[in-house]
Symmetry: C3
Subunit: 259 residues, 3 copies
């Protein structure tokens, strides 16, 4: 028993109290927890040097966009442990509280209700830490952006012709809740909704939907370099295999648009 | 510090103590937590008005079936936060405790052991809230339903011929643990096991297995309208992309059976 | 209220305090929790008799390898509830602490950073229970294994030619962080890194990457019988559908290598 205590203490001693800005394991927004540092010095080093020290500083994607991609992946996968760290980073990098609020609603539709629900307490805590008041958040029913009627009519016709008799409910809901409501809410720009959607699709390995959403995202203003940057950034948070699958899809989309 | 407290309080004030039957964030079976209401009024509205107020009341799928689909998706994805709410709904909608117990076993095989394990404490708590006693639950080894020998022989031959030398273990286990045991346990009807299996496959984006299980489900009594209703219901809990992938598979199954 | 208490007690009475080595629900490393036993006697029986009593004792995969497969699946899926049980099993079965430490780093890259992060506290606790001191763990930057220059050059050329202009970041990171660093770290053998990678791919249904990693694993020393054994073992922890998808891929890999 005393031996076990000694071991625990010796693990504890591996944690420098305030090395490079990281606090011990009791600080939920430290980039590397004391536990991780104790059991995998290699992963602690990669987190600090490779991921935060190098990848986050690359120019192919803005820090603000990296924050949106990272939060979208974590929320879409239901991974809440690192939300305090990355919510603080996002707010510090200029992501607006209203945008984070919209991301929750957007991801509820694209990654499932529960993923958004379990993120909510962490968002609330981060807003409190940053002194954000409720009047900075979007209303439940704001005035919507103008609908591109022609484009939406074409989309609705294609989906309706393809699946109208398979699941009438889903076909109708897609029109009324997504394309005539969610995507038109003004507090998250269409380009950023694409960033969130693409990140969520990569996060959960949903390559089938990625083709059309990468194309929509580029129509909405994402550059080819940014799309490549999203994928290499996502590799760290969604795992290499999901990023590789996304890269295969992106190659096809880039080639089709180059013609 | 005092400022942060004020902010926290102001967020707290967004939570009406007993609006429309929702209590504050301390009630784990409230449809909308106080935290969610504080950070995303839009998602709170969609939860109450769109999802619970509209989708759950549609006639293409019975409330009891919606409960089974929802619980299956949450358990299959390892999402426990909303289990208290939906377990209570299920028991209120007529899903039997014995059926919920069987769902756990069924989902252990179809979504992995841990998914069922982490749901167990929530099921136990819900059973206690509803005064359900252990003798209402299925035994470990009940008398089984009668096996359709011809159908099972055809299935076993097909799988054995295809994969008998790839993974003998998996081929044999599929016969002995799934088709000669799990699917014959009497306290969850084959039609409902199909409902659970299909929901689990949609939940985790497993389109490859959905073709045969949609066909089996329709053989087991699911109607085409119900299959379409499962998919549109699942969109909210498993996310739109998983529902769209399922709709593509369902279209093919419906067309093949119409011939 | 008194009724509810009685019910709770009667559920509690279902839990034999020390049956077959299992303690009550307060022991986090018991194979079957009291809660599971209370709500699903069938699943409790399958856990003890089928899974631990039969599957784990089969000869197609060594107990040490079963431990690595199981831990990899749980970590890759972010499922921490059963980590105490299976970390203890792994250490008892001869998996070295240094190997477990390397698995965390490996899975961070292959299943996403957060999956490794949330496992870390459980690994730390298991190490403390087993009296493992920090000097038994790999350094952040050890001397690396010798690189197979020809093989790596071929791999890098293929990926670079295919995707060099799609996501330059991901292509470069794959070379520098995975194939010239992670895979060469000496405290987890290449054969075992394949075991971890294959398990992680099965765990998350990533069939697209499985073809090349099954082939690499067999080059690294995994036998065909072991590959089949991994898949049948994984069925229980990652669910039957993921195992069936893997079996389809494995069939193709086995046939291609038999030529």
């Amino acid at each position: 028993m005393r031996f076990a205590t000694t071991i625990l203490l010796s693990f504890g001693l591996l944690v420098p109290a305030a090395a490079q800005g990281q606090a011990g394991q009791s600080d939920p927004s430290a980039p590397v927890s004391g536990d991780l540092r104790a059991v995998s010095p290699a992963l602690a080093r990669h987190t600090e040097q490779t991921l935060l020290g190098e990848v986050w500083k690359r120019s192919d994607l803005a820090p603000r966009d990296r924050s949106i991609v990272t939060l979208s992946i974590l929320i879409a996968r239901g991974q809440t442990a690192e939300l305090p760290l990355y919510l603080d980073r996002a707010l510090d990098a200029g992501v607006k509280p209203a945008e984070i609020s919209e991301m929750l609603t957007h991801l509820a539709f694209y990654a499932g209700w529960s993923s958004a629900n379990v993120a909510a307490p962490h968002v609330k805590d981060a807003f409190a830490r940053h002194g954000i008041s409720p009047d900075q958040l979007p209303k439940a029913e704001p005035a919507l952006l103008l609908l591109d009627e022609a484009r939406e009519a074409a989309r609705a016709k294609f989906v309706g012709d393809s699946f109208g008799t398979t699941s009438t409910g889903l076909v109708n809901d897609t029109t009324s809740f997504l394309f005539k409501d969610l995507w038109l809410r003004p507090d998250l720009a269409p380009r950023d909704r694409s960033l969130v959607t693409i990140s969520s699709l990569i996060a959960n390995g949903q390559a089938a939907q990625l083709t059309s959403h990468l194309a929509l995202g580029m129509d909405n203003g994402l550059t080819r370099a940014e799309a490549g940057g999203i994928i290499s950034h996502a590799a760290f948070y969604a795992g290499w295999p999901n990023a590789f699958s996304a890269m295969t899809v992106a190659k096809g989309v880039f080639e089709a648009r180059a013609k």
